[in-house]
Amino acid sequence: MAYSFDFDNRIIDVISPQTDVDVQDLYEACREAEDSLIGIQYEGIVNASGKESLGSGVSIGLTVELLDWQLRFWDGNYVAKIAGGNLVGGIGGDPVAYSPGVQVLLIQSAASTVVQISTGSGLSTEEHDQLMGVVATKTDLLNKEAGLTPEQNTLLSNTATKTDVAPIAFMEQVLKNKRELVKSGSSWYLVVYGDDEITPILRKPLTDVSGSDIVDLIPGVLAREGASLV
């Protein structure tokens, strides 16, 4: 928005191509002009009132009174609009000066209010809750696709956030590393070695179907792998 202030003739010129005037914007421009190096030598341009809060983001509308000043649009054939508050005052009670070819639409209200829209996330509480509900549903769907129950997903999440990852590393070693069937005494064991392929990290006794030690490895004898303490 651009305005030009003629302090001698008390005219605020709206600079082309602007055709719409927001009253709040005009008010702020007037205040800046009053504060300028030239403007401070003159009387004030406007008085303003309103914007008192009514609660719930609603406030009274702004009323700007021009103090013997007038707003003048640039010449041309167009419809200009003044909105966003009440613009009153001016010379002889007319806040708008004549401009050839311009039809000015001055929107005023005796009971205007301003509704403030939150500038945070842009969501109301209800919208926020609704969005979070959608996100939760989406998460459930993803878990189901992965074949996990919510409890398993929680366990997985907790496990993934643990700083101690030693059990996971151990499981990887058990799955990947060298393993051997080793006879110790009269029993056979499944031994899994560490990354150095020398140090055993897991030793599980092997038995036959009756739970007895396997004396010798012959086809069909090995039946189960016993549990270990690790």
């Binding site: 008010y27 702020e28 205040r31 800046e32 009053e34 504060d35 300028s36 190096l37 403007g39 401070i40 030598q41 004030g44 303003a48 009132s49 309103g50 914007k51 702004l62």
Partner: protein, 126 residues
Amino acid sequence: MTSRYRDRSVTRILPSSKSCVMAGAWISTVKHPGDVLFYATLSILNAVVGSRYRIAIAATNVELVKGNVSSTDFDLTGLPVYENPMLVRVDIRKASTDPKYQPFTTYAYLRRNGSSAYISQQGAIV
């Protein structure tokens, strides 16, 4: 002109009947309205830093001084006073940068022993 008569207008007064009796002439000094009586200090109190101020003679709007506020309280010294006391208008405005304030105007009498003006700016409507 000697320093005694600096800033003073000197007018020769026609001899009065009394002076004629004394066979002499009266010489009198008359102050011109444009002559400075003295220089005074105006203390500005409670101004918002960053505001622009202007001090002018209330009767004529002749500007005495203007500038920017750099501290809340400050003194303006050497203000010429043409009548005692002399009413001055104090304008304080701040609308170029946030936080913005409504224009504030007050008046003060400049006297030989100094004077002060208390500023109470209110926030602009946003």
